[in-house]
């Protein structure tokens, strides 16, 4: 074992590359990065080498994401579309959250509040969060090998769509009243991506078990 090998690169950066790269790419990319990192750490110091590693990792992930997105096979594009359809059909959504969030203030014309209004709101909140995580997992599982690209694309579509609605509605309604529905859809987007991370991690773990060192 060489002296340089005692320097450890940032683990989170390595984990992120592992998430976005195919197993073959991850093997070579992480090996190359570690080789240069060790060299830099012994020449310019560990702090500099860690900064360099992070910068390289971010740029690498951007390139990998772009390459995966560009070469996306039909089933990956199809799973994003199906995921968006499911979210549109079953997700409580921006409009509904805007109405529910402001029912008590009669801003959106809710004349009669049900007796179990708070319970209903909490139930819907849990439903939305579980649904988002489940759809993230299903869509990523369908797009085998492109889990992260698919989940992030779906999450981004949902996030951008909600932001557009937020901006359009803000012009005619009270800005603060729309923040909760916007945050809800952002949380849903994050959970979709988290679903992708879970599926990817499971796949990586089973791939490693199948090919022991």
């Amino acid at each position: 074992m060489t002296e340089s090998f005692s320097f450890q690169p940032p683990l989170i950066a390595s984990w992120l590359i592992d998430l976005f790269a195919t197993p073959e790419q991850a093997e070579s990319i992480l090996g190359d990065l570690l080789e240069e990192f060790s060299d830099l750490a012994s020449k310019s110091g560990v702090a500099f080498a860690r900064r360099w590693y992070w910068w390289q990792s971010v740029r690498t992930i951007v390139h990998l994401f772009h390459a995966e997105f560009r070469g996306g096979p039909p089933w990956a594009i199809g799973s994003v579309l199906v995921g968006f359809f499911f979210m549109n059909s079953f997700f409580v959504g921006f409009f509904e959250w805007a109405t529910l969030a402001n029912c008590g203030q009669n801003v959106f014309g809710c004349s009669e509040l049900p007796a179990d209004f708070v319970l209903m709101k909490n139930g819907l909140l849990i439903w939305d969060l579980v649904l988002s995580l489940s759809i993230g997992c299903i869509v990523s599982a369908a797009a085998k090998g492109r889990e992260m690209v698919t989940a992030i694309t779906l999450g981004l579509i949902l996030g951008v769509w909600s932001t557009v609605l937020f901006l359009v509605w803000s012009a005619s309604h009270h800005y603060a009243l729309l923040l909760l529905p916007l945050l809800m859809t952002f949380a849903a987007s994050i959970l979709i991506v988290l679903g992708g991370v879970i599926v990817r991690q499971i796949r990586m773990a089973s791939a490693r078990r199948a090919t022991p060192d």
Binding site: E27, S28, D32, L34, Q56, T60, H63, L64, D213
Partner: protein, 111 residues
């Protein structure tokens, strides 16, 4: 491969780096060669994304070396240019030469 298949700018640079490095061409050396020759600091991800695309087109081939301790037990992935890749480089060079012929870039367009 059609006669109109030319290499993109970065594909061209990467293939030339592989040709220069011969049997020493893998991610780190390709990145360093490009930095050394043209001063362009490219990410390792950009190198691999391009190499994977070139491999899919049949212009380069890769094989794994032995795992080494300095790489945390990971293997180096070595690349070499195929005959089809050489043909693509020649075609691209020919196209560039044809397009620049008679332009006298050094004097006529100097700033």
């Amino acid at each position: 491969m059609s006669n109109r298949d030319y290499l993109g700018e970065f594909e061209h640079i990467v293939i030339l780096a592989l040709l220069r490095l011969a049997d020493r061409a893998y991610g780190v050396t390709v990145r360093q060669e490009i930095d050394l020759r043209i001063g362009r600091d490219v990410s390792i991800g950009a190198i691999y994304a391009t190499l994977d695309r070139l491999e899919a087109k049949g212009y380069v081939k890769s094989h794994l070396g032995d795992p080494t301790g300095e790489r945390g037990g990971r293997s180096k992935r070595f690349f070499h240019v195929t005959a089809k890749g050489i043909t693509a480089v020649k075609r691209t060079h020919h196209a560039l030469r044809s397009m620049t012929e008679g332009l006298n870039l050094a004097t006529r367009y100097s700033q």
